[in-house]
């Protein structure tokens, strides 16, 4: 177990390396310097040259990349080309907000989907079942920014229940959290329902019933205990979905987190920040996947973790 965990943690390094390589190669393949943004008032050539030297972009590409990797290993991710502050600082500033939004959304998604999926499986083909399946279909197929537009229009513009954009008070957090959680909630509902349905028809459930256990006991200790194992594995992909959802939602609701920073940095072609955010996202997703694999092994003794 420990050996497996260590090996998986070591595998993080090549993953992060490849992500850094792809982002680096593509960003340097783009023509033009990050400093020629203003077409009407171009900087003098000498100034651009000085800026390039200051930020180390005048060196050969492979040298730059090696330098970046060496510095990144020391948690130095360079300096923003636009804000003139260390990338680590900028990301660190937005991180608590994004983490709060993401964790709230993940918890909300679990709080919605587990009961809903369980009930619709227990009452298969009932009105509740069809209703929750319908909602789950909408949640998985309609993109979150489209749902966000409808939600803003109805709840913020027309009913004035919540503020339109911003962050800080609990009222500001309702819409972004809810909408970010919807996709994951819908997906988790579908998985929970399918997994519960499969467990209900197992032999050991029939045995439990036939020896006269109460229905609640059967459902909780026999059905749910087994049905929720596959659900645990989905938390990994759900985290990835929350990460990609977060920058759309943060951008729409002006949430001062990493997601919004990411979108503005891309529009400003602030490559050090882009690179830093990519590495952070890759790290979060990999760690989420690793955690899921480890938890899966603990929940289900039939699964042998590590080969």
């Amino acid at each position: 177990m420990l050996k497996y965990t260590v090996r998986r943690l070591l595998l993080l390094i090549p993953t992060l390396f490849f992500v850094a390589l792809i982002v680096f190669v593509l960003s340097r393949a783009a023509p033009g310097s990050p400093f020629d943004r203003n077409q009407d008032k171009p900087l003098p050539a000498a100034a651009i040259e000085r800026l390039n030297r200051h930020y180390g972009i005048d060196k050969p590409l492979h040298e730059q990349f090696v330098m970046y990797i060496v510095n990144a290993a020391k948690f130095d991710f360079g300096t923003s080309l636009v804000r003139d502050r260390p990338v680590a600082d900028i990301i660190g500033q937005g991180f608590p907000t994004s983490a709060q939004l993401g964790i709230q959304a993940l918890l909300l998604a679990l709080a919605i989907s587990l009961p809903l999926g369980t009930i619709s499986a227990l009452k298969q083909n009932s009105a509740i079942d069809y209703g929750s399946l319908f909602l789950a279909t909408i949640g998985t197929s309609v993109p979150n920014f489209v749902i966000a537009i409808f939600a803003i229009f109805i709840f913020a513009v027309n009913l004035h229940l919540v503020p339109i954009v911003g962050w800080g008070t609990p009222k500001h957090m309702i819409l972004p959290t809810l909408i970010l959680s919807l996709g994951a909630a819908a997906f988790l509902t579908r998985i929970t329902r399918a997994s519960m349905l499969e467990a209900i028809h197992q032999d050991y459930v029939r045995t439990a019933r036939s020896k006269g256990l109460r229905e609640q006991v059967v459902v909780i200790t026999h059905v749910m205990k087994n049905a929720l194992i596959p659900v645990a594995t989905i938390v990994g992909p759900a985290t990835a979905a929350l990460v990609t959802g977060s920058f759309i939602i943060e951008f729409m609701f002006s949430v001062p987190g990493i997601g919004r920073l990411f979108v503005t940095s891309i529009n400003q072609r602030d490559y050090p920040v882009i690179m830093g955010v990519y590495l952070l996202y890759a790290f979060i997703i990999s760690v989420a996947n690793l955690t899921v694999d480890l938890v899966y092994g603990m929940l289900d003794p039939r699964i042998k973790v590590g080969k």
Binding site: F153, N267, A282
Partner: protein
């Protein structure tokens, strides 16, 4: 020509064949037609495809023609003095006709749905089958590549491709559409190749392949005539879901402001441009959002139906 006289006969023959055959594909088709949600989805998809195909004929005006005097007209059902019979669904802040822009956007969406998916299909099936059949370094390379790609969300790959290449000559071809096709194809073909590879790996151990080999069929023939048709069902299902996800990728990128370049009309671009005005004039945003929602739901319903029809064992 002789075919004219022969036609009734062939039709009769076809009819007989048709009744006799009842292949697995026909069975699947019957199951699909009984699925009301899937049929409703199919109707919407076909409608959207027709709108896309005949966009220049249906659209009342040029989707990029501006008229600042008639900016932000309301659609016909809103009771206000800002309605204009020339703009049935209203106009945006630059006075462009929203109806025409929606129609031309359907065209972009369908292109982005079908062109990259065709590339994904050809690349994925060819490489996946070859890797499974021959193994070797191609197989190894494919597996390593999928490992890297799976560790990271597709949208993030697309964003970095667009963030960096959008302002080059490659990003200017057809207003960024070519880059969109290639980008989506590059990001997604690996998943298709892995799916085909898995299918072929399990199929090639089956008896019918052994029988074909025993009768002296060459590898090419085995791949085309025996493995490919049998691996097709899950491939079709996965294509049915790849189309809306490609459209969604375009819409999301364009909405965030780094996808297709304005003035080209796409639903994502329209939402991006109109979003700042959502509090005062919501229709330029709501209408394209509604189009995206409907088309996405239609494709999902159709994809679900196809999955249930083609493989009743796959359940989710």
């Amino acid at each position: 020509m002789a075919t004219i006289t022969a036609r009734p006969q062939t039709a009769a023959e076809l009819n007989i064949l048709h009744r006799k055959q009842r292949s697995l594909w026909m069975d699947a088709w019957h199951r699909l037609t009984r699925n009301r949600m899937a049929m409703a989805g199919l109707v919407v998809v076909v409608f959207a495809m027709l709108v896309a195909a005949f966009a220049p004929m249906i659209a009342p005006r040029d989707p990029t023609a501006q008229n600042s005097a008639l900016a932000l007209a309301d659609p016909f059902w809103v009771d206000s003095q800002y309605r204009n019979p020339d703009y049935p669904l209203g106009s945006d802040q630059l006075g462009r006709d929203i109806l025409s822009r929606l129609i031309y956007s359907a065209r972009v969406s369908m292109l982005v749905g079908f062109v990259p998916v065709s590339i994904i299909f050809v690349m994925g099936v060819t490489i996946g089958m070859y890797a499974a059949f021959h193994g070797g370094w191609i197989d190894n390379a494919l597996m390593r590549l999928t490992d890297v790609m799976y560790a990271f969300p597709d949208l993030l790959f697309l964003i970095i491709i667009f963030a960096t290449l959008r302002n080059t000559w490659a990003g200017d071809l057809m207003g960024g559409l070519v880059l969109m096709f290639v980008g989506i194809a590059i990001v997604n073909w690996v998943g298709m190749a892995r799916l085909v590879r898995g299918q072929v790996l399990s199929l090639k151990e089956k008896e019918f392949v052994e029988a074909a080999r025993a009768t002296g069929a060459r590898p090419g023939r085995i791949m085309l005539k025996h493995l490919f048709p049998n691996a097709l069902a899950p491939v079709i299902v996965s294509l049915a879901f790849a189309i809306p996800s490609a459209m969604l990728a375009e819409a999301t990128l364009s909405f965030l402001g780094f996808g297709v370049k304005p003035p080209t009309a796409t639903w994502g671009v329209m939402i991006n441009e109109g979003f700042v005005l959502v509090t005062s004039t919501p229709w330029p945003v709501l209408l394209p959002a509604f189009c995206i929602a409907i088309v996405m739901l239609a494709f999902t319903a159709l994809g679900d139906g196809l999955r249930d029809a083609l493989d009743p064992r796959m359940k989710l």
